[in-house]
């Protein structure tokens, strides 16, 4: 829309840090970067030139989530008890059940939201952290685009948790059928929460601070 009005100083690549200015993390007011523990004059939020301890926090969250990714996918998340059979479901077998009941679009959706997205998120965050740690980030633009997609899509992984909450609440018609949660659900929910926190604690500007070229 009004894109043309944003006259950037791209050719010179002037950053806020160069000018001693920063964008308030909360209300995005341009403020003078000053001593620690300063507060934004408009919204009163604490000001930081970069999010404090971003790399260490993100790295520990990514590692914890990666460890939990295995039990989240290998352990059963729910147990179905019906008159003549008992069944444990993992995340993946839930996808298969959806597919075999003919709801292909939903099955594909859940497969992406619950299995592919958390894995992509872990790989991408790990890889970005490694590149920033080495101090040389190639393809910063593509990486930041990927990071944003993954950050945006991440919350959709919760849909399996919500489906489980409805299934376990509704299907309590003993002796006909009962559905109960199983420990895999704990690990799975933890993976989603930890990866969301990891994306939130990562400061995207670090990607650009050590970009190999523009």
């Amino acid at each position: 829309m009004a894109l043309d009005r944003a006259e950037s100083l791209v050719s010179a690549l002037v950053t806020g840090r160069d000018l001693g200015l920063q964008s308030c993390a909360l209300c995005r007011l341009t403020v003078r970067a000053s001593a620690a523990s300063a507060r934004c004059p408009r919204c009163g939020a604490r000001l930081h030139v970069r999010k404090p301890h971003s790399i260490a926090t993100t790295a520990s969250l990514v590692i914890s989530a990666a460890l939990l990714y295995l039990p989240a996918n290998l352990l059963p998340v729910m147990h179905t008890h019906q008159l003549f059979f008992d069944e444990d479901d993992t995340i993946m077998s839930g996808v298969m059940t959806l597919a075999s009941s003919g709801s292909w679009p939903l099955a594909v959706l859940v497969f992406f939201a619950s299995i592919v997205v958390p894995m992509l998120k872990l790989v991408l965050l790990g890889e970005i952290l490694y590149a920033v740690h080495r101090g040389r980030v190639r393809h910063a633009r593509q990486r930041s685009r990927l990071f944003r997609i993954v950050e945006f899509v991440g919350r959709w992984s919760m849909l399996d948790v919500f489906a489980l909450s409805l299934l376990t609440t509704l299907v309590q018609v003993a002796p006909l059928a009962e559905i109960e949660p199983r420990p895999g659900a704990l690990a799975f929910a933890a993976v989603v929460v930890l990866t969301m926190l990891a994306a939130q604690s990562f400061d995207e500007r670090l990607l650009w601070d050590s970009a190999a070229h523009g």
Binding site: A163, L167, P181
Partner: protein
């Protein structure tokens, strides 16, 4: 008059002429949205917020869905879905469901309504503004639309073994989602804080 705007995502400095009317401006280097303004007056988001509040109350007062299977009928409400996990000993997952589908959406709505009305009435005091500050990091944790898709997945899985009847609660919750997202799009961050700064000066 021109102003310097710094991209929150890559720290690049932009010089920007005064923006009038609705605009959406992206960072020239990393394409992050650095400024969005709307033409809507403050009455528009207040109207969205009020209708969202009514729908949220209806969504919680009526059952989301009913399941019928050989003579048995089971109903659940929104809070009932979190409670079901709690009763089975999964308190932390139940808490997460309660937090993301009830607490955060309600807080988001309540705080925005409080702040907007305070601006409308003149001098907003410190409390609504402090609560708006607390709300900001919670933004990604409101998951109304994700819950609705999760409900679709659950009901599809059940439809092979039972009859599923969607309730008034589900329809109200779906409409609540639409109202809440209209509220969020009519209160862009920059504009909200500008309204606050204007009404304080």
């Amino acid at each position: 008059m021109s102003a310097l705007i710094i991209c929150h995502a890559c720290d690049l400095v932009h010089r920007l002429d005064a923006v009038s009317g609705p605009a959406r401006i992206r960072c020239a280097r990393c394409r992050a949205e650095i400024l969005r303004t709307t033409e809507a007056s403050i009455d528009t988001p207040i109207a969205w917020a009020m209708s969202a509040l009514v729908l949220f109350i209806i969504a919680n007062a009526y059952p989301l869905v009913a399941m019928k299977v050989s003579g048995f009928t089971r109903l659940t409400t929104l809070l009932g879905a979190a409670l079901g996990l709690y009763d089975q000993g999964y308190e932390s997952v139940a808490g997460l469901v309660f937090f993301t589908t009830f607490l955060v959406p309600l807080a988001q709505l309540g705080v925005l309504l409080w702040v907007l009305i305070a601006i409308k009435l003149g001098q907003p005091r410190a409390e609504p503004i402090a609560s708006l500050r607390l709300l900001e990091p919670l933004r990604p944790w409101g998951m109304v639309e994700v819950f609705l898709l999760g409900a679709l997945v659950a009901l599809t899985r059940l439809s092979t073994l039972a009859t599923i009847v969607p309730g008034i609660g589900l329809i109200a919750y779906g409409s609540f989602m639409l109202m809440l997202s209209s509220l969020v799009t009519t209160t862009p961050r920059e504009q909200l804080w500008r309204w606050i700064a204007q009404s304080r000066s």
